[in-house]
């Protein structure tokens, strides 16, 4: 089948998609967006998290056909329009929250979503929101630091804008 949808604001189409293929497979292997990662392909690790119509989902659990005419935003779409790193991306680098980095794309999307809905989350809120994203390297402490840093910068930015 053919699947057409929007990825990071651009229209994409994929041909000869087998009906069992996941959105994750289509993104990674067919449309040149391998940023979302394939750690379990079972909905357990969060590495493949993308926005689907504005809601974070595990793209490994979404059948490719389900995204027909919908909007997908991946880690590749988190940068600013001018190409600069997004606030959450920068915070993860600055805090030392990226080691092997395999969990990072999923965590970035999930953190972005968290800070959209709750710009100043408590530590427990952060832990709750990120509990579906496994990281095997960091011990999560620096990920907590990154989210706190992103939150502080975001509030500051909003403050200056007002």
């Amino acid at each position: 089948m053919r699947v057409t949808f929007t990825a990071n604001g651009k229209p994409v189409e994929a041909d000869d998609v087998w009906e069992g293929e996941s959105l994750l497979y289509v993104l990674r292997e067919r449309v040149g967006l391998p940023g979302s990662k394939n750690a379990c392909e079972q909905g357990e690790c969060g590495s493949c998290t993308v926005y689907l119509d504005g809601t974070p989902v595990c793209s490994c659990l979404v059948a490719a056909g389900q995204v027909q005419d919908r909007e997908v935003r991946t880690v590749e779409g988190l940068s600013e329009e001018n190409g600069e790193l997004g606030l959450v991306q920068q915070a993860f680098i600055d805090a030392g929250a990226v080691q092997c980095g395999f969990c990072t794309p999923g965590l970035l999307v999930q953190t972005d979503a968290l800070l959209e809905s709750a710009p100043q989350p408590s530590d427990t809120d952060i832990r709750e929101a990120l509990s579906g994203n496994l990281c095997r390297c960091t011990g999560y402490e620096k990920i907590m630091d990154a989210v706190r840093l992103a939150s502080a910068r975001k509030c500051q930015k909003v403050g200056t804008a007002e």
């Binding site: 391998p34 357990e44 940068s79 990072t104 408590s122 709750e128």
Partner: protein, 786 residues
């Protein structure tokens, strides 16, 4: 022919970054920007236009004879390009890290659940999956050898490998054994010196590395008949060394390039898909990509050895250890992998960082039909630490002593001797590290009136409002060696090039070091900046075009490859200064490279490096070998076996819901001597990550193997800690330089994984009063509902 990724392989090209941070600073990772943009190409992201997908058929039985394999139907599947069995292997059929006992594809029998039997290459992963299902194998299923009792009685239960089945193995079902005798050993006379004796039997379950990036890579057939492989591994050169004979190629025709690695922790020391993808590429003449699914990953790599341990300690009434009598049995599973070295470690480090005048010890690894076990972070020291630290708590209770004081009373320090007779010739601040974790402020006590119930054990599931919750505190300390031991000539190679690019001096660092997330690439830039006084450093992709870097394991990479980068950079510096002497006739003895200039301490800047270099490049390669070690004597365990030791102490605070058996670690504190922190930010990240894997082993992580079959090969059933399970991990870093190591540094990555587990178990014991001799501690152990 070269591979490309969809994104243009950015991390397979040079990455240049600028910074003023040398060693001791915390500059940002050179690969960080690519990683947060999703542009960093991991091994599973490799892609080639006309590539095929490879997949393996794996055995459903842990022990069986293969009567026949029929590939006809599979071959007929449209879209299938090749189906291979061991008969199609052009070269040697066996490989292995230490003992060449592992067939690249099963030959006539299978020895563990998940062993690869045949391979398929097809145009889509689903086609490959369907074709794999069409391969018909007839088995004669045999009763697996799964216990120590069975393994040690081959006359009844048979052999995992028939003796002399191939040349390097002749020992029955004992893969490797190591004895150790220290002082007078354990005699009746020695026993009589002890006022108090504590005994314990301890058990450690099978832990998995569970790195997130699956085993994967792309093999591309080259025009010269060789193979170019883009792969996630821990040691490019040892992969090549094992691959080439099987592929029937000379080593120089097997070229490996490191693709992005999503964590390793020992699980990538052995080969996984390397030979399989290459065989398929050789056969089809097309690039072949293999990406393991998560269950295949659980089958496709070796795990941490499960262990059964008996410890007996004797001490005087005032708490001085008199003797230890120890036996460690490690289940090595079907193939040797790194078992011999793991046994050596377990035996030599298995008595902990304590002065014990008399020791008798035996450690063995068995061949069984359980999954193969080999390297995992902590490498034989982890299991033993749970044993000896449990014993220290038991002994303290028996003596009515404070458990930290008991440990401090017996703690080894610089100048003391290891049970192997090796003198510890650099700082060993065991007592101090314990004191440091003890002195750190405790988290506030549980306040049920002002509590977010999401912080209780059971967390989000809303299982409790605080009733039945008890808090406990526990301590531990551990010892780990750094680098490869027992006479192995461990070395690493680095190439450093200095040239002027865009009017600036730029240093290029080229090594074959596997960056698996540990941050070596960051540190290499720091070392080059420190030695060469430049800001811009280019990291060249790791490949086999430069000499071996050794493995990214044993906490050795900063020591070994960092040391090689230092040597190469120093050589470049000397060459540049020599050039200046020749040109300008300098006679100064105090020259250095600082801020892009050649500087004399007395007279200041003499010339800029740009002017001195001109358009000439200085390009030098150096090897760093650590001081030689010797193999342990097989009967006595004596010998200068290890290069360096590293120590970490922990304090764990836990809340336990005693009704439901749920544990929440509230805080896990670590104090570690790192010698010199080359990059404090990543050192702390390593310690926190190591503590977290230790937490996993303490309370949740175990591969369940029943009758040789793996029951939980998925992230649904094999649980690793989430951000909800992991507490704050405050780290107190001590920096006591080791005079034998580059910059005085000490390997960092493994010590916390060794030491932190027993502190958590001790805290659960303190909360519940239960003995808890097996890890991971499960809810049913706490509620008595087993």
């Amino acid at each position: 022919m070269t591979a490309r990724t969809i994104q243009g392989q950015k991390n397979l090209q040079d990455i240049t970054t600028g910074s003023t941070d040398g060693i001791g600073g915390s500059p940002l990772r050179p690969d960080g920007t690519l990683k947060v943009r999703g542009e960093f190409a991991y091994s599973s992201d490799m892609w080639h236009e006309d590539m095929l997908w490879g997949m393996a058929l794996r055995s459903p039985h842990p022990r069986a004879n293969i009567l026949s394999v029929d590939i006809a139907e599979a071959l007929k599947t449209p879209g299938v390009y090749a189906v291979l069995t061991h008969e199609d292997i052009p070269g040697s059929k066996y490989y292995g890290l230490e003992i060449q006992d592992q067939p690249a594809l099963a030959i006539d029998k299978v020895r563990y659940h998940g062993e690869a039997i045949a391979l398929v290459a097809a145009d889509h992963p689903e086609t490959a999956r369907r074709a794999v299902k069409k391969i018909k194998v007839e088995y004669e299923v045999l009763t697996p050898i799964t216990t120590e009792e069975q393994a040690l009685h081959p006359e009844v239960h048979g052999y995992v490998h028939e003796p002399h089945e191939y040349k390097s193995h002749a020992y029955g079902n004992i893969c490797h054994s190591q004895k150790l005798v220290h002082g007078q050993g354990v005699t009746e006379a020695v026993k009589a010196l002890a006022d108090v004796v504590v005994r314990g039997e301890y058990e450690v379950g099978m832990q998995d590395q569970a790195f997130l990036g699956p085993e994967s890579g792309l093999a591309v057939p080259a025009e010269d008949g060789g193979i170019d492989l883009y792969v996630a591994t821990q040691w490019l050169h040892v992969d090549r060394q094992q691959m080439a004979p099987v592929l029937g190629l000379p080593e120089e025709k097997v070229r490996l390039t490191l693709a992005g690695v999503g964590g390793a922790f020992g699980g990538r020391e052995d080969l996984s898909m390397q030979i399989h993808a290459s065989l398929l590429a050789q056969r089809t003449g097309k690039p072949v990509k293999i990406v393991y699914s998560r269950d295949e990953s659980f089958f496709g790599h070796v795990h941490r050895h499960p262990a059964k341990m008996t410890y007996e300690h004797g001490a005087t009434r005032d708490g001085k250890l008199v003797y230890a009598d120890v036996r460690l049995v490690l289940d090595g599973g079907a193939y040797a992998s790194a078992s011999p070295a793991v046994v050596g470690n377990a035996a030599s480090l298995g008595n902990g960082p304590y002065n014990i005048p008399n020791i008798r010890m035996e450690a063995i690894a068995l061949y069984t039909n359980n999954p193969s076990c080999g390297a995992m972070r902590g490498f034989g020291a982890v299991q033993a630490c749970f044993g000896y630290e449990s014993q220290m708590d038991k002994l303290a209770a028996e003596l009515g002593m404070d458990p930290v004081e008991l440990r401090q009373l017996n703690a080894m320090s610089e100048g003391d001797y290891m049970p192997t007779g090796q003198r510890i010739d650099s700082p060993a601040p065991v007592a101090e590290l314990l004191q440091r974790v003890k002195d750190m402020p405790l988290p506030p006590p549980l306040d049920l009136d002002n509590l977010d119930i999401r912080e209780l054990p059971g967390a989000l599931s809303n299982t409790s409002h605080g009733e039945g919750i008890v808090r406990g505190i526990g301590y531990s300390v551990g010892i780990k060696n750094v680098g490869f031991s027992e006479g192995f000539d461990d070395y690493s190679t680095a190439r450093v090039r200095l040239e002027v690019i865009g009017g600036e001096p730029v240093a290029m660092v080229h090594t074959a070091m596997a960056e698996v997330g540990q941050g070596g690439v960051t540190v290499h830039g720091q070392i080059a900046r420190t030695e060469l006084g430049v800001e811009k450093v280019t990291i060249h992709p790791a490949n086999t075009e430069v000499g071996s870097a050794g493995s990214t394991s044993a906490s050795r990479q900063t020591y070994m490859t960092g040391g090689a980068v230092k040597l190469a950079a120093e050589a470049v510096k000397q060459a540049l200064i020599a050039k200046g002497r020749k040109r300008y006739g300098w006679t100064h003895q105090d020259l250095n490279l600082v801020g892009g200039k050649v500087v004399s301490a007395a007279q200041g800047a003499l010339v800029s490096m740009v002017d001195l270099l001109g358009d000439e490049a200085i390009d030098l390669t150096r090897e760093h070998h650590h001081r030689p070690t010797v193999a342990f004597d097989k009967e006595t365990g004596q010998g200068f076996g290890h290069v360096q030791y590293t120590f970490c102490a922990n304090r764990a605070v836990v809340d336990v819901d005693v009704d439901l058996g749920l544990v929440k670690v509230v805080e896990l504190t670590a104090a570690q001597d790192v010698g010199k922190a080359l990059n404090p930010l990543s050192v702390i990240g390593q310690i926190q990550g190591g503590c977290t894997q230790a937490l996993g082993l303490a309370v949740m992580e175990e591969i369940i193997v029943k009758d040789g079959k793996v029951r939980n090969a998925s992230f649904t059933d094999y649980l690793i800690p989430t951000i909800l399970d992991v507490p704050p991990i405050p780290v107190d870093m001590l920096e006591l330089p080791d005079p034998n190591a580059p910059y005085g540094l000490r390997g960092v990555g493994e010590a916390p994984t060794v030491s932190a587990t027993p502190s958590i178990v001790a805290a659960i014991r303190a909360a519940t009063g239960l003995a808890l001799n097996r890890i991971p501690v499960r809810p049913e152990h706490l509620t008595g509902t087993l």
